[in-house]
Subunit: 223 residues, 2 copies
Amino acid sequence: MNKTAMKCRPLRADAVRNREKILAAAATVFARRGLDATLDEVALEAGVGVGTVYRRFPDKDTLIGALFENAVDEIATLALSAYEAENSWDGLVWFLEEALQRQCANRGLRDIVVGTPYARERMESVKCRIAPAIALLIERAQRDGYLRGDVVGADFAVLEMMISSLSCMTDKVSPDLWRRYLTIVLDGLVVKRDKPTVLAQDLDESMADETLRMKTQHFLRVP
Amino acid sequence: MNKTAMKCRPLRADAVRNREKILAAAATVFARRGLDATLDEVALEAGVGVGTVYRRFPDKDTLIGALFENAVDEIATLALSAYEAENSWDGLVWFLEEALQRQCANRGLRDIVVGTPYARERMESVKCRIAPAIALLIERAQRDGYLRGDVVGADFAVLEMMISSLSCMTDKVSPDLWRRYLTIVLDGLVVKRDKPTVLAQDLDESMADETLRMKTQHFLRVP
DNA sequence: GACAAGTGGAGTTACCTTCTCCGTTTATCC
DNA sequence: GGATAAACGGAGAAGGTAACTCCACTTGTC
């Protein structure tokens, strides 16, 4: 009697296309400008009217939810994957780098993780899943003698916020600058070291002394 | 003929009192809430009407200027004083701690240093004075073998922004938490060390493991 | 006690964001 | 190819915030 189309007929073909355009545009706009971005901006980017956006997604919150459901989960998963690494320090570094990379490249994601108005409860559940995973990473790295003994799980969350909010200030000018300060922080966390701290994507060239001097000074507009 | 009262007669006594009240209130309000605070809030704190605030200071910008002229200079001066320290590393640490303490305790000052809308040009001149002073500090600390060789002046400005923006997130819950992350950063910057990095005001007790765990977790609202 | 100086705070202006409404366009089905 | 309901666009309503003004009233001063 009732097919799978319980809720009346399916979307018209053009409506489906527009829905995709809206999601893609929203991803772009929120990544670039954070959750403050207007749905008018999303509509513009998508090349549709605001009305169309609001017909597909009843409000801004729903759209944000649809977009970031996965991205946030993904970060929680990273912490678990990091535990697979043979070397516990490498696992920790890898986790921080991966998590930060996502947050620094996506201001909307950062807003959620840091807890801007729109987010809050959205993070609660993730925190609960992520916290134990990080605790494991820390415990192992401390047992292996890599990580300072006085570090606790919440420190990592704080350090992540710290670096991603830094990146918010610098990313217009130099989107990779945060990596430099992550290495400095890591050097402050490590006890013994087999080899110097090097990020997977540490671009020796672009992080070279002279380039950095230019980038940072450009950022600060120091003459 | 014309006395010193070139610009007509002096302020009435009650007006002078109110001017002082306004300045004091503005200092309190901007320190607590940053430069976003309304002049209505300032008026409320001062116990006067908004109209009174606007008669004394033609616009918000002028009031901010009157308040922060000195505070910003002071930070520039700190860098010079730090050069007086016998030990070059201690000088650097002292400078960072003092500068950050001011920024973290005063959100308005931070807004100016970090470059929120209202500030911008206000900082330009200070940067020019502060940059050479920091360069001297760095050069000496590197010559003495304390400071990593790849660090440049702008790094300090970036690290300062990084930590003070962290403190913006945490200061409601735990106004001293930033100190912990400053020590971590310092440990990431140091090469050799005569003694462990300890801040002048490092409160052993309040920064103890258990207290930190509570503070940080409370900040993050992790169950 | 006259009166300019000073005051308070409701109100004006300007702007911004979220979301709605409706006249017009377009896909779909016969 | 024409009828029809779905979808569209975007002006603008609704609701908010912040900077600043204006004027009837109060107060210090000479």
